[in-house]
Each structure stands twice: as C-alpha cells, then as structure tokens.
Assembly symmetry: D2
Homo-oligomer: 133 residues x 4
C-alpha cells in the first residue's frame, strides 16, 4: 500500500465468524479501529487517555469495500496511511490483505474528526504525528 | 426517509458502548444488518435459510456517515429503502434517527451482491421483494 | 421463575449467531447484563451514571448453564431475581426461556460486588432496591 | 497453572472495553473460546470442520471468576488444562494472567459436551487429544 506507515498482524478468531462461516462485516470495523489505536500508541498517543481528557476523536465517515471473505483461522495484515483534509478532517486509508497470498481482503477510508465541548477541534495537532513518524 | 419501506425500533444496550461512553462505530453495522434481515423476514425471506442454501448474500460495500453519537439507553428507529444498480448490485439506504427528537444519528448506503459457487448471481429475484411489498 | 422481579423480551439477531448457526455462548452474558441494567433503570438506578460516579459495580462471578441453543429469530424472555450474600455480595439469578414453548434456554447466577477507590463497598444501598420494588 | 498444556498471548483491544473503561465481562468468554479453539488446532482438530460435520461441540456450563479488571492495552496470557468427567463431559480449566506482574485476571471452568443428531456423544475421542499432546 502506497504510503503505508504502520502494519499490524491479525488472525481470525472463530467467534468473529457468523452463520455464513465468514467474518461478519461489522467485525472489520473492529480490526480497522484496533489498527488505528495501535498506530497511535506507536507514536506516543493513547486513545484511552485522549478520551479521558476532553478531546474526543470521532469517526465521522466509514467507507469499506469487501473483496474477499475472511474465514476461520485466516492470518492477515492490516496497514494504514494517513492524511488531512481541510482544517478538521483526518483521513485514514486502511487495507487488509491475506498473509498467504497477499490478496486484498478489504479496503477502508475512515474520516475522523475531533470534538471538544461539542465543537469541532482543528486536527493539526494530530497530523503532526505523521511528521514525527 | 424518502421511499422508506421498513422500520425497526431499537434501544441502545450498555454493552454496545465503549470507553467513550457512546455506541462503538462498529455496532452500527450490527444495527443496519439486523434491520435488513428483519425486513427480509417481513417479506418472506430468511437470511439463515438463504445461507443454508448455496446462495450467499454478501455485503460488497458499506458507507456510513455518523452524525450524532448514540448513548446508553437511547431509543432510535432504523429505516430502510432499497433499489437495484445494474444486474448484480442491490443498494440499501438506511437511516437511524433518535426517537425523542427525530434527529438523524447515522446514514448508510449498503451495497449487496449474491454469490453462488464463487460467481456473482443476478439480483433480479431479490428485487422482486420490493414489488411484493 | 420463583421470586422473579423483572422480565425483558428479546429476539435473537443474526449477528449474534456463530459458525454453528446458534447464538455464541459469550452473547448470553450480553443478554444477562442488558437485563440487569434495564432492571436497574426500572427502579431508578442508572448503570452509566453509577459508573460516572466513583462507585463501580463489578461482576465477580458468573455461572451459566446452557440448556437449549438459541437460533436465528428465536424470541425469548429474560427474567431475574436478586438477593444479597453477606455484606458485599449481590446475587442475581437469571433465566432465559423461549417464548413459543416456555423451554428454559439458560440459567445464570451472577455475583456482583461494588468497588470504590479499589475497596469493596457494602451492598446494602443496592439491596434496598428490592424493597422499593 | 498446574497441568497447563497450552498458552496463548493476548492484548486487550479498545473496542473490547465498555463504559467503565475495562474489558466487558462477556468478552472474557471470547478469550476463553479462542484459546480452546487454538489449542484444538494445535493438536490437529479444527472447530470449523468439526461443526461442518455433524458433531457439535457445545458449551454446557461456564463458571468464571473475575479477579482483576483488564484495561486498554493490557497484555495477558491465557492458559488451559483439560480433563474428562464421566462419559460425556470434558472440563477445561482456563486462567488468564497479566503479563507484567503475573497477576491472575480471571479463572474459568468450562464444561463441554458433544452433540450428534440431538443426542450426547461420548467424549472419549476428544480426550485422546490429551494423550497425543
């Protein structure tokens, strides 16, 4: 993935699979979120602490394309890149690909904003993460 | 919602809320899915049976916009409309709005396809649901 | 159920079912928790507020017996009774039974304690709920 | 843990935490299940395949004691031992302990049975796993 700045390994857990025997589409958002939070920790940010303060990161938009179904026991890699969009939006591009054949499983574009006291908060402080990295 | 053909009532359950005290963004996909499956049952389709046969409905794309955070105990309504897009795609438009003030909580556009023996299966059989309704 | 003081209706949602096509055993704990929290609200307590204060209700022990598997679309009733055990423990007895034939699905005994500043807090304030009821 | 025959490393994911900021008690059953299924794979069994055949492993009883709360980012180890109880029951003893200080987080006793065509199936075939190990 072009501009990938972080990767995280995953393995499907059986409880994540549904009646169809594949990972339920909602679970992918868990994978994407966990990847972002681990990325943030890797650059010294902590989601739990950020939330304990008054500055709330919120997902504003999530766009996911599902290409191949993940099955019980599948190992896959989650990677991300990040950019800003205007004063308030941060965009994450996130891919999952299967380990054994590098096939793309799913792609996501996640738009985040920051909210303090019910108002949007400029994302510049956050984007500086990119430069630190 | 224009063209709404089905509504379902929900109430937030505490275990759906995360560290921030609001419903985690992945859970919305559960709400949207449950609404679609209940809609299907209401017109005589059964997701579990469909899957037990060889015809697999799959989410191909999910686009969600989050507008207001759902909190512990919030009551909300989930509604949907449905249309086709070409030979294979079925598009669901889904809204959640809060019961007490009719505020839109989230909007989704969910694209589904049908797969039989690893091949796309025309969606015409499915769209006829609309006409039955 | 002897001494039942609260009941709540549920319907299985497909995303709660796993590869076996039945509700995953972990999800039952969600059902039990949601029932307790709705019960608490019904007597004027609020779990989210309790937590926002410094008094944390914690599950200390959970004992669940699974008798019949819940399947896609099953409707069931969740009921509970409550008692104290010593100075600190509150015991919930919780049953799920299927609506159509009143068959017991699962039984649970949930032991809760209250923690304030890392110390156990006497449960008397909580047990008074019973009397109010 | 006496008689431990398998261990698996975990790290708490933020979406597993609830309003209290700790891992929700239902999620522990996910951890316990995933550990058992990984153990089974390690001895050549596959839960998904077992289920695809007609032989259904079912949790009959789950008894969990929660000792310390898991928090965002905590790393912990899940370990298990296994034994039989009579002709039909298999008992798993499962512990979770925190990596940094070896504190016990939770203990579980999980009783499983096997069902084929709605009847209990003797567990001897399964217990032989132990001897293979």
């Amino acid at each position: 993935m072009k501009g990938s700045i972080f990767t995280l390994d995953f393995k499907v857990r059986d409880y994540e699979c549904d009646i169809q025997g594949v990972v339920n589409n909602a679970v992918y958002l868990n994978y994407f979120e966990h990847t972002r939070h681990e990325f943030l920790k890797s650059v010294g940010f902590d989601f739990a602490k950020l939330t304990a303060s008054n500055l709330l990161p919120m997902v504003y938009k999530a766009e996911i394309t599902y290409k191949v179904s993940l099955k019980s026991g599948d190992e896959f890699v989650s990677e991300l890149s990040m950019t800003s969009d205007g004063e308030f939006k941060v965009i994450y591009y996130q891919n999952l690909y299967r380990k054994k054949d590098h096939k793309i499983i799913a792609k996501a574009k996640i738009t985040k904003v920051f909210v303090r006291d019910s108002k949007l908060y400029p994302s510049a402080f956050y984007i500086e993460l990119l430069n630190k990295k």
